[in-house]
Structure formats: C-alpha cells, structure tokens
Symmetry: C2
Subunit: 299 residues, 2 copies
C-alpha cells in the first residue's frame, strides 16, 4: 500500500481512467461503496467532478497505475487505450506485477485479445469487461457487464464488479470473448434503434401520430428495448445527451468489420453503420443517439 | 335472422373467411364465447377443423355473407380479399345493408382505404383491424388489435373484438390508418428479427455460443421481443411453424413500397425485404420466420 490510504473494501484500490459519462458513473458507484478510488482524465472539469465524488485525482495514467490494484478503462476507443497505457505518462510500465486492467470501453475483440498479449510480459492481467446500460445505470451501479478473462483474475474483480454492475455475465476465459458479446449486442441496439427511427419517420409521413405508433409497437411484435427507451424521450422533446450517436456509430463500425473479417452476413451491420455514419456526417455525432429520428425526418 | 340460429351474444352473428392459422384461432376464441360463428375456407380440412370447434361451414363466401352481420377476413393478402369479396361466389353483393367487413389480414393501407370506397355503395362498412401476436394468441383471444373506421361502426364491433383480442388500439376513423400502424410494426418485427438472426450467426462464427449471446442480449440494450421469442425456439431446435417466413416477407414488401411511395427513408425496410426475399427464394418461405437464422448460417 502506498500513499497512506488503506484499501477500504474487498474490491481493493481501484482506478478509473476516462471519467466521461460512463466512467463518472462508475466512480460514483465505487465511492458509494466506499471503495478507495483514483481517477484520471485529460479534461480538468471531469477530474474536478470526480474529486467532488471523493475520488483522488491522478496527474497521469502512470501515477494512477502506481496507486491501484485494478484500473478500469472507460475511454472512448482503442486509440485512447493505447495512449493511456503506452503513450506519454502511460500506465503500462507503472503497474505493479499482478495488477489488473479492466477494459470496459467497447472495442474490437481482436484489439482486446492483442492487448492481453502485450501486457502479459509486464505481469499485468487483462479482464475484458464491456458494459451496457448507459450513464444512468452506470451511476446507479446497475449496468449489465459481460466479462471474460482468466478465471482467477475475474474472481479477484468480482467484489469490484458487484459495486458497479447489477448483473455480470462471465462469458469466457479469454479476453476478446466479452468484447464479441458486446459488439453483437450493440449491432442489434444500433440496428433496432435506426430501424425504429425509420419506422416512426415513415409513420409520421403516412399521417399517423408517431407517439401513438410507438405505443402500439411497444405492445406488439415490433417491440424493442432501445426504441421504447430512446423514442419515448425523443418524441417527448427531451434531447438530453445520454449516449452520443458517434459512440454507437463506432460500435456498429466494429461489428461490420468483424462480420466482414469472418465472412458472415452483414446486411444489417452495413445498414446500421451507414445510417449512423450519415447521421454523424450530418452533424448529429454529439447528439443523443435518439436524434436518429430527427436526422431521418430531415432527409 | 335466418337459418333458425339465434344471435347468442352482443357480438352478433359472425363469419370468419380464411380459417388458416390465425383465422382458426379467431374462430376458436369466438366459439369459446358462444358467438354464433360461420366459417369459410377453400381448404376442406380447414372447414372440417372449424366445424369441430362448433363453427358452421359456409359453402361459399356469399353464403357466409347472407348469414352474418360481421365478416372477419383473415385470408393471406389483397388478391385473396378481392377473390372472396368480388370473385366467383364472392361475398360483396350478398351482404345485407349495414353489414360490416373487418379486414384483419395485413395489407397495403391504400388497398384497405380503396376497399372501403368500393363497398360503400353496397352499404357495407369496412373496419380496418389488423392483428398482432401470432396463432397462439389468436387461439387464446389475447392478440393485439389495431382498429380504424367510422366510430359507430367500430363501436358495433367492440363486443366481438373483446372475444378475440386482449388489447384493442382504436387508432383512427379511416380505414387504412390501422393498416399503416400494422405495416410500421411489422417492418420493425422483420428488421429486428433478421438483424437478430444476423447477430447470432455472427456470434457463432466468432466462436461464441449463440444461446449465451441471446441470453446476454435479452438483458442488454439489444433486446427485442421478436428475437427473444423466435431465436429461443430456433436455438432449442423447435422448428414448428407458427408464422411462415413468406408472411413477414410480404408485409415488409408492403412497408418498403409504402416508404418509397412517400419518399421516406427505407434503408431498413429494404434490408429486411431483401433478407426475407432471399430466404423465401432459398426455400424457407413455408418455414417459421425464425428459420432466418438457419438461412443466414448456410450462406
């Protein structure tokens, strides 16, 4: 133990790298369980907000790595993971042997598998642990988590996961497996959402009230979780950003690339990728992904 | 009243034209409520099965029309509706004035609107009343129904609808409006189902257990009603036919045509139409629509 702060929970000393919408929710859940938490982000306001929750700010990813047994990565993509681990002030060489990197960003399964191989010589373990549920569930500690990694390493993380997730599916023993589950799920989330936006735009153009269409669909065979969630907000005029459109655009791009690499059918991966790319290109990238409806109606 | 059989319920004397999977379920629900029911189908075995439920067989659609106040059409498509109403032995001219034709087949909204105009000179009313839920819910009387038509005509049908549907959404006053709701719903059902099959096929090709992927998806943001329903059966090896793939293929073709006619975005309507067309072309038309998974895995 360093820095005089004892580990206050079975979860040990935990760092969160990337305290954006999701990472901040995780930090909040950890602090609610009195877990000794460090936080790192390149944005000062995010660091201040994390500090207000009782997380200790780290001046670099490397400093964070020296303080914790487990570091949870919730940055945006694989380029940012490479930067926080292997870039200037990066964490990789600062971890003590036996430390665990929990990759909770949604990235290409191949990338996570390769990352585990890159960190293995440093005796740093990787748990592939993407999450689903959005910022509100992250803050409430009720996300769904998919996890894969060496069983004894995943077991060490379970007290921590219990603080931040409502449900943990341990789906395999190799990093990359959980990422595959996540990508498959997000392919469907993106396809269902964009198809739902298309259907409601069609409804309005056909002269029927999209809110009424949404109600009927929710009680019929076209029901999906994400359409009820997002389109209810969107039709109520609530344009608050919970999950930016560019995140789902990135995820479904990974899904399309995975399908192509494996020679699998990719009709809907392509349709969803193209729909979200077009929305991002039209300026909706930083809007909530529910803005797909506005985008399609303005075509 | 003709034929000596009194109307035994507030629903009046009811005919079901087309006693296939859905129509037979409706006949069963009507008989469970002791509604005087006539049935008509061109298939003798279907007529026999309806008779076993206590429905009276009609030798032609015209004969049925002479016996009932309300005729529910549950044939496959608009061509069959034209045939049973206006073809040889057709019902249109045999109805007494004030009779009601309930169109519960899923057809193009324009067709239903035009049908109402064609039957108006005969003083035959049309209620546009598509249903959702499949044969099991039809037999249990728990389908979801969308209805549009003149309010006093829809009101006359409500005791009958209460026998066959668990929930009735009255969505408008013009025939064609309910059909639009149904088409919009079925566009989503088809897109969600085919995207889900694609995602599970991708999961398997990536080396993960599709049943486990389905479980995780069902608890995550990619969840949809139809994927949980159909893929659970399919992965359990239950290939019983509840809803033939060619039905959803037809419906999503109507959705794509509607979107094109209105100049609306049709990316997912096209993707779903093309996926189901390809499955039908590959010989899966008479299989359950859940067979989309087998089709995509055999590509």
């Amino acid at each position: 133990m360093t820095d005089g702060q004892p580990s206050s929970s079975p979860a040990g000393r935990v760092g969160v790298i990337g305290v954006g919408a999701m990472g901040m929710g995780v930090a909040r859940s950890l602090r609610r369980h009195d877990v000794a938490t460090w936080a790192r982000d390149i944005r000062h306001d995010a660091m201040d907000e994390a500090a207000a929750l009782g997380a200790r700010p780290a001046s670099s990813a490397a400093e964070l790595a020296r303080q914790v047994e487990v570091a949870i990565l919730l940055v945006v993509d694989d380029a940012q993971i490479d930067d926080v681990l292997f870039g200037d002030g990066g964490a990789a060489c600062a971890f003590r042997p036996g430390s665990i990197v929990v990759v909770s960003s949604t990235v290409d399964p191949q990338y996570v598998a390769a990352l585990a191989a890159r960190l293995a010589p440093l005796e740093v373990h990787v748990v592939d642990a993407p999450v689903s549920g959005g910022p509100a569930k992250a803050a409430a500690g009720t996300m769904t988590m998919m996890a894969s990694g060496r069983p004894e390493v995943v077991a060490r993380c379970q007290p921590l996961f219990a603080c931040i997730a409502g449900r943990v599916f341990v789906v395999g023993e190799r990093p990359g497996e959980a990422a595959t589950f996540k990508i498959v799920n997000n392919l469907l989330a993106a396809a269902n959402l964009a198809a739902g936006a298309e259907a409601l735009a069609l409804a309005r153009r056909a002269g029927i009230d999209p809110a009424r269409a949404l109600e009927v669909i929710g009680a019929s065979s076209g029901a999906s979780w994400i359409v009820t969630d997002r389109m209810t907000r969107e039709l109520a005029g609530d344009h608050g950003v919970r999950a930016a459109a560019r995140i789902l655009a990135k995820d479904v791009g990974i899904a399309a690339a995975l399908a192509e690499r494996l020679g699998a059918s990719a009709r809907f991966a392509h349709a969803a990728r193209d729909a979200f790319r077009a929305a991002v290109d039209a300026g909706y990238g930083d809007e909530d992904d529910a803005a797909m409806l506005r985008f399609l109606e303005q075509r």
